[in-house]
């Protein structure tokens, strides 16, 4: 799964769940689109569905500092690589 694949999926989620069309990559999502803590929790559920894997409480807590789209993409990449590494073992 490439970063482009992830970005495409996250943009789909933003449009469907948060009515945000093509969010910019490095703007503060709260300031630009009113994306708040409630949305962040909803996003985590969507990420779980996308990865087909449950997030641990610690992984969820890591997401609380996310402010931009690029940080979301970094976060999902990190989760995906963790899961790939766990599968290889």
């Amino acid at each position: 799964m490439t970063r482009q694949d992830i970005e495409k999926e996250v943009r789909k989620i933003f449009l469907k769940e948060f009515e945000v069309e093509n969010p910019e990559l490095d703007v503060n999502l709260r300031e630009a689109y009113g994306f708040d803590s409630i949305d962040a929790i909803e996003l985590l559920l969507e990420i779980e569905k996308f990865l087909g894997s449950e997030l641990t409480q610690d992984e969820k807590k890591l997401a609380m500092d996310i402010r931009t789209m690029n940080q979301i993409l970094d976060y999902i990449e990190m989760l995906a690589s963790r899961r790939a590494a766990a599968t290889e073992k």
Binding site: D36, I38, D39, L45
Partner: protein, 412 residues
């Protein structure tokens, strides 16, 4: 410090229409908003009462997603009437957000639709995925102060929040407590009201108490029948109502249109049975209302009765009315048009009374074909009359033994 409190805007979503024009037209035509109870595909098949005061017309909501996400149906109603009242009042934006405007708004128990979904998961959750169906916002949609705080969020209102949840006196308390907040200088303005959404749990509660109307299931418009000898109980309904209360000097200075003045409010409790109507408690409320307004019974032109059309409730209310107000003031039971809108009824009945004051008429009690002789000692309005109402009392009585009396006056 005691200040005069005026009403500078009002609006309502009711089973007989949305806003002044539709509602006045329905009152003048004698149109009922009671319809056949809509199916919930859960418990309606067990409910004996097949009637419901129904909002059956579309409402176009123009709320941004960031606001919609914390709103259940009851908050949609509440925010819509709040939006209309804010637009009508025309308060400066810095006043709205600056802390001088507060909110008194409630519902009987948040959003029952959302609560039902939560409980469905509660009882059926078999795995973690199902459990996660309890969304992050479900509490915000279903909590008892959901109407008030969604209004504060949507419009950036930062003053005090009062969110009464006292069943049928919810919104009469909203207006009363809002009146006191402005009167005593705690806020310069208060947006007050109440709302309740379509809910079959409430119908089931009254149905099981044998307090719901069942004899007119095939002719919904013929019930409820307050004070009529053939009344057979209340009809549950949905809706919302709101008023803007402002300190008089402030409203005058900014050139606001003044629709009326709140001149008195009383609230007490029966201190006993939580269900049965209580003559002593209600009588005391009506007396306290007059005293608080500084008027006497002959000053009252009109009484908007609580009158839910239950057997005992109407008789007790008629007795209290007769004892305190005497036989002269006109009495109308506005629930005859739409049923009992629960948390919204006090605000809706206040809004309708303001409309009648402004238009110079009094609507008759619908379905009052033959007055129960035990309720006959008061001056029932039996047909539409032209009348310049100057002073009116709006009274409401709730499960739990809570009673309110609001006194409003045409502004001059």
């Amino acid at each position: 410090m005691e200040r005069r409190v005026v009403i500078t805007a009002c609006s309502a979503i009711t089973p007989i229409g949305h806003g002044r024009q539709q509602i006045v037209e329905s009152l003048q035509k004698g149109a009922s908003g009671v319809r056949t109870l809509r199916e919930d595909e859960l418990i309606t098949r067990f409910i004996h009462s097949r009637v419901y005061g129904t909002v059956d017309y579309p409402i176009v909501y123009d709320f941004a997603r960031q606001h919609r996400k914390t709103m259940g149906p009851v908050a949609y109603y509440a925010c819509q009437v709040a939006k209309e009242v804010l637009a009508q009042a025309g308060l400066p934006q810095d006043f709205v957000t600056g802390g001088s405007l507060g909110i008194a708004f409630g519902s009987i128990h948040g959003s029952p639709t959302v609560q039902r979904d939560i409980y469905k998961i509660f009882f059926e959750a078999k795995d973690k995925a199902t459990y996660q169906g309890i969304g992050a916002v479900d509490y915000l949609k279903s909590m008892v102060h959901t109407t008030a705080v969604n209004i504060s969020k949507m419009f950036g209102i930062t003053g005090r929040i009062i969110s009464s949840g006292t069943a049928c006196t919810t919104s009469s308390q909203s207006i009363g407590f809002g009146y006191e907040a402005v009167k005593y200088g705690l806020q310069d303005a208060m947006l007050c009201g109440g709302a309740d959404e379509y809910d079959t749990i409430t119908v089931a509660v009254f149905d099981n108490l044998l307090a719901c109307s069942t004899a007119y299931n095939d002719h919904p418009e013929r019930t409820p029948r307050p004070f009529d000898q053939d009344r057979d109980g209340l009809v549950v309904a949905e809706g919302a109502g709101a008023v803007m209360l402002e300190e008089y000097e402030f409203a005058k200075k900014r050139g606001a249109t003044i629709l009326g003045e709140v001149i008195g409010f009383a609230c007490n409790s029966n201190g006993g049975d939580l269900i049965l109507p209580n003559l002593e408690g209600i009588t005391k409320t009506l007396q306290l209302g007059l005293r608080n307004a500084g008027i006497s019974a002959p000053d009252l032109d009109l009484v908007s009765a609580h009158a839910t059309a239950t057997k005992m409730g109407d008789i007790i209310e008629a007795q209290a009315n007769a004892a305190v107000f005497g036989p002269d003031p006109y009495v109308v039971a506005l629930k005859s048009y739409m049923g009992h809108t629960m948390a919204a009824c006090g605000a809706i009945e206040t809004v309708l009374t303001l409309y009648m004051m402004q238009e110079g008429f009094i609507a008759p009690t619908l379905n009052l074909e033959s007055v129960d002789e035990r309720c006959a000692m008061i001056n029932h309005v039996r047909k539409l009359i032209e009348y310049p109402v100057k002073t009116a009392a709006i009274q409401n009585f709730a499960f739990g033994g809570v009673n309110t009396s609001l006194i409003i006056r045409k502004f001059s």
